[in-house]
């Protein structure tokens, strides 16, 4: 047998009591070694449990293994006390030689116990940082993984609610002047399918929509072409303000004016103003009407060729002229005058001598004026190459 410090021990050097003591001491240390081995085994088992079962291993150590370990430590403490008592008894009998053998053994045992305690403390500290598998998928626990290595949707919060989407949009960056390539999101009709459209495409759609309903701007250079104005029945019109009774004021380009409207070309090709529905508009209409019917304005005129194929060169408020015969014509008014008391002026071209030809009114009504041209000093009529008639009246 060899001692802890390497010295060879021979039982023959000791008396019977000492040998007996040493044998007891060997049993004590054998017991200590067994218990230390047990502690090591416990640690190894705990490490294995921790690796395999996590918090479950820690829980089991706390519940089952820790008491056993505490009992082992308690037994070692008792052994240490027994050794101390035994040492004291032998010291009283003058036996001190065993100190060299016992003390190193005791010191080794104590170091083993301290190391075991430290290992257990390290294990407990390590396990304290781990979470039990029993908490998987539980409140305040942790999420597990499915067969595809992903977190099951049952363990995920709802991601797309009106609140979450609304919050996301509210938190988005504002763009005051988005580019044509920027995208705007929406939901398709009749379902919940999301889609996006670029601002450029949306602008093109709106342009086509408004062009179809307002006007074709393909040739638009800043002024609204008359040909593209809205058409209502046979009348082209521009809608103006809305009167208090709900009727829209209009500027009509043909037909007679409606109430609160102005026709630029009423029946007969004249300006007409509709009856105003606002009292303070009456003066304006009267101003227009008064000037349109002013006695200082010609109510009708015509310039025509009376020779060969009789033809009208130009006219105003004339629907036709009637060729009654040589030098005999009737001027038919498109709109009748207020009465037949109008004045007329006539002139002819066909001779450089003003005394050669003359003109005369044959008859007149509010609707027509019959005139003649002839030689000044005879009764014969004559066709003139140019005959002009101007009418003033009410």
């Amino acid at each position: 047998m060899n001692s802890q410090n390497g010295a060879k021990v021979d039982y023959q050097d000791f008396d019977e009591r000492t040998v007996d003591f040493i044998k007891k001491l060997k049993r004590v240390f054998a017991d200590i070694n067994i218990r230390i081995a047990a502690v090591e085994a416990i640690k190894t088992m705990a490490d294995d449990f921790e690796r395999r079962y996590g918090q479950v291993a820690l829980d089991r150590i706390d519940a089952g293994i820790a008491p056993v370990l505490a009992a082992a430590i308690e037994a070692l403490d008792q052994t240490r006390a027994d050794l101390a008592a035994l040492d004291a008894a032998y010291r009283e009998n003058g036996i001190e030689r065993v100190d060299a053998i016992i003390n190193p053994l005791i010191a080794a045992a104590q170091a083993a116990l301290i190391a075991a305690d430290q290992k257990v403390a390290e294990l407990e500290a390590f396990l304290a940082t781990k979470q039990s598998v029993a908490e998987k998928g539980q409140a305040n626990g942790y999420a597990g993984l499915d067969a595809a290595g992903k977190v099951p949707t049952a363990q995920l919060p709802a991601l797309t609610t009106t609140a979450t989407v609304g919050a996301a949009l509210a938190g988005a960056n504002q763009e005051a002047t988005p580019a044509d390539g920027d995208r705007l999101a929406g939901i398709k009709a009749g379902g919940s399918t999301a889609f996006w459209v670029t601002l450029g495409n949306l602008k093109a759609l709106l342009k086509a929509y408004f062009d179809a309903y307002v006007l074709d701007r393909s040739n638009h250079t800043g002024k609204m072409p008359v040909s593209e104005l809205a058409v209502s029945g046979s009348a082209r019109f521009v809608i103006g303000r809305t009167a208090t009774n709900g009727n829209a004021g209009q500027v009509l380009l043909s037909a007679d004016p409606l109430a609160n409207s102005v026709a630029l070309r009423g029946a007969g090709g004249i300006l007409k103003v509709g009856a105003p529905e606002e009292d303070d508009d009456a003066a304006t209409r009267k101003y227009v009407d008064d000037n349109a019917s002013s006695p200082g304005v010609a109510k009708a005129w015509v310039n025509f060729n009376g020779t060969n194929t009789v033809a009208i060169r130009d006219s105003f408020n004339v629907s036709s002229i009637t060729d009654n015969g040589v030098g005999d014509y009737t001027i038919n008014f498109a709109a009748p005058l207020g009465n037949a008391k109008y004045a007329c002026a006539m002139s002819t071209e066909g001779s450089t001598n003003p005394s050669t030809y003359g003109t005369a009114v044959v008859s007149r009504t509010a609707s027509a004026l019959r005139v003649k041209t002839g030689y000044a000093y005879t009764s014969g009529n004559v066709d003139m190459a140019e005959f002009s008639v101007i009418v003033f009246g009410a």
Binding site: S320, I321, N324, G325, N332
Partner: protein, 80 residues
């Protein structure tokens, strides 16, 4: 271009229309009341007016009858 002709005394009156009114409306308006008229092409009217007082035409199958200006204006007033 058209012309409207109607009998007048022993001869023919020729109406030269102008303006936006349809020629049929001008005929009804400017041909005297109850007088038959025909609407003809301008080329049917002689350009030589030397015998203007001797012109004649057949009004056996007229295109219509005049209502006269007064009646025509009354119609227009009534339609408004």
């Amino acid at each position: 271009m058209h012309r409207i002709i109607y009998p007048q005394g022993d001869g023919v009156a020729v109406i030269i229309p102008v303006g936006p009114l349809p020629v049929t409306e001008i005929a009804r308006k400017d041909v005297p009341t109850g007088v038959p008229y025909r609407i003809v092409d301008v080329s049917d009217i002689p350009a030589d007016r030397a015998e203007r007082d001797l012109w004649s035409a057949d009004f056996g199958e007229p295109d219509g009858y005049g209502v006269g200006a007064e009646a025509w204006f009354a119609e227009q007033e009534a339609e408004q």
